[in-house]
């Protein structure tokens, strides 16, 4: 999966985000670090913040396209 496509899924899910960054950690298109900064995370615990990111990427996670995902979320 390309960085651009993954980034597109996140931007669609978090149109209000101040920052969306995707890093292909291994250069193989299946190990990613994603960083999302959004006011939607404000006031939420980390579990709920990460759940929102997982929801946005549910399909590529479920079908194995994403083998490993690291998540960094930030409120405003």
């Amino acid at each position: 999966m390309s960085v651009e496509r993954l980034r597109g899924l996140l931007v669609d899910a978090f149109p209000e985000a101040e920052d969306v960054d995707v890093l292909d950690r291994t250069g193989t298109g299946d190990h990613f670090l994603v960083t999302v900064q959004s006011t939607r995370f404000s006031g939420l615990g980390l579990v709920d913040q990460h759940r929102l990111v997982y929801d946005a990427l549910a399909e590529p996670l479920a079908d194995g396209t994403i083998h490993e995902l690291r998540i960094k979320t930030k409120g405003d």
């Binding site: 980390l46 579990v47 990460h50 759940r51 997982y54 549910a58 996670l61 479920a62 490993e68 995902l69 690291r70 998540i71 960094k72």
Partner: protein, 121 residues
């Protein structure tokens, strides 16, 4: 006992449950390793469950927790998160606070790391 019930019992009864790929002695995944090391550094009395022997372990666990990835860490029956969150909480000192809050201030004196196996159904 049904598989889901077994997993729920581990979550409910173990002070710190770590569902991981492999065992603490033979970790099979980088993220499981990161979660284990963060818990160890905080002195958590870890009970580890290997999800690799049967794909149903992971399916049932995620059905219970609503969390799609492995590892998963529970403290006092509550989902704390995966490797990223546990590392983040460890770095900020919140992991030790959570452990003290859920298990008492002397949680480090609890029993040693151990592994429990789920029984095939």
């Amino acid at each position: 006992m049904e598989l889901r019930e077994q997993i729920q019992q581990v979550i409910d009864n173990e002070p710190v449950a770590l569902f991981m790929k492999g065992t603490p002695q033979l970790v099979m995944c980088g993220n499981s390793h990161r979660a284990l090391e963060a818990l160890r550094a905080a002195g958590a009395p870890v009970t580890a469950v290997d999800v690799l022997p049967d794909p149903r372990y992971r399916q049932e666990l995620s059905a219970i927790s609503g969390w799609p990835t492995i590892p998963q860490v529970f403290v006092g029956g509550e989902l704390i998160g995966g490797a990223d969150i546990v590392e983040e909480l460890a770095a900020s000192g919140e992991l030790e606070e959570k452990l003290s809050g859920a298990l008492g201030g002397d949680y480090r004196a609890g029993r040693d790391e151990r592994v429990v196996a789920l029984a095939a159904v």
